[in-house]
Symmetry: C2
Subunit: 213 residues, 2 copies
């Protein structure tokens, strides 16, 4: 039973890595849609979101089944509860990608992002994609090196978030409040996406090493 339990918890991890991957790819496509005012891609992100919701429910059900049938205690119980929290974070990452795609759709055929900040927003998107890949690796392989990289990327994301904030509230910002509001929300979506990934990675590393990432 012990090894069956390990296998089942391992399968949970694989499921969660799949959710992280799916959310990361959603953010990649949403960022593309945003920066290129690409309505087709934005609609694709919106259309594919249901798959994430469905797969989250599947992984939750798997965790539930393990708890019900195996009644794990101590560290094993903690591992399953930690997996459930990871599902919630991965699902939220997908929702944030969805929000980015919605802004792209709302402003179409215009681009929501003025040229002046498109490099910063593109950087946020690139970092988010790397974070999505890294958290997937951390979940699959307990890779603490990737977790450390992810923490650095989260700091870079926070820096960009603060920077964009100062750019849009500058009295000389020439693009009006509508664009400022879009950038504020987008910046917050990217920053929260990174936060959730950091939370997942932190839990995985803690589960595997007992140390906080």
């Amino acid at each position: 039973m012990r090894s069956a339990f390990r296998e089942q918890v391992g399968a949970l991890g694989t499921g969660i890595a799949g959710l992280c991957d799916l959310s990361g790819r959603a953010m990649q496509h949403a960022t593309h849609a945003l920066l290129n005012a690409d309505l087709t891609v934005a609609e694709e992100v919106l259309g594919r979101h249901e798959e994430l919701t469905y797969r989250c429910a599947q992984v939750e059900t798997d965790a539930f089944t393990i708890l019900a049938l195996q009644a794990p205690v101590a560290g094993d119980l903690r591992a399953v509860l930690s997996a459930l929290k990871n599902v919630a974070d991965a699902e939220r990452m997908g929702v944030l990608a969805l929000h980015v795609a919605k802004i792209a759709r709302r402003r179409h055929p215009r681009r929501a992002v003025p040229d002046e900040v498109s490099c910063d927003v593109a950087d946020m998107g690139r970092i988010a994609v790397r974070i999505g890949n890294d958290v997937t690796d951390v979940v699959l392989n307990n890779d603490s090196g990737k977790a450390a990289q992810l923490a650095l990327d989260d700091e870079a994301m926070d820096d960009l978030h603060r920077h964009l904030f100062t750019v849009v509230i500058d009295p000389d910002w020439p693009h009006g409040t509508a664009a400022a509001v879009d950038i504020t929300l987008l910046s917050r979506y990217f920053e929260r996406f990174a936060d959730h990934a950091v939370d997942i990675a932190g839990r995985v590393i803690y589960q595997s090493t007992g140390a906080h990432a």
Copy 2:
């Protein structure tokens, strides 16, 4: 053991109601600080947040203990896992109150909210406080009437959120992008606060009646 289990799950509910109440009061004080540029109250909200974090961890530990010692299955297991999700939502509500207090502090001694929208923001604050009270009641008493009221308040909050969005992106908005950015973020914090309360109430009603709220 059966009745011991019921008692322990009941105690979890009481704990979660306490967290909802704490988060609701934090939002009440944060809104006061915001609308009155009251730095003292804003600092109090920030200072008290640790208590919420600590009490969330306590309720989580209680849930963990029930799972480890009682190994519940089926509906009982679902009740405990649902409680764990409620803790996460209640904690997030407190964090959102914290964010409101931080904006009040950041803009002090000025008021972050221009007169033009202070009634709307005050409405959001009032609704948030009622939502905090209602979700506390729902958790304590499975009160489906309060859950229905909460759903209506959530709709009212969404309406205000959309309305404020149109106000700040209006080309005639006279208060500059800095104020628009503050209002955008504040409006999102209030709206998310309501969403989390709705999620909690939905789970509680579903647990008690099997019907979606």
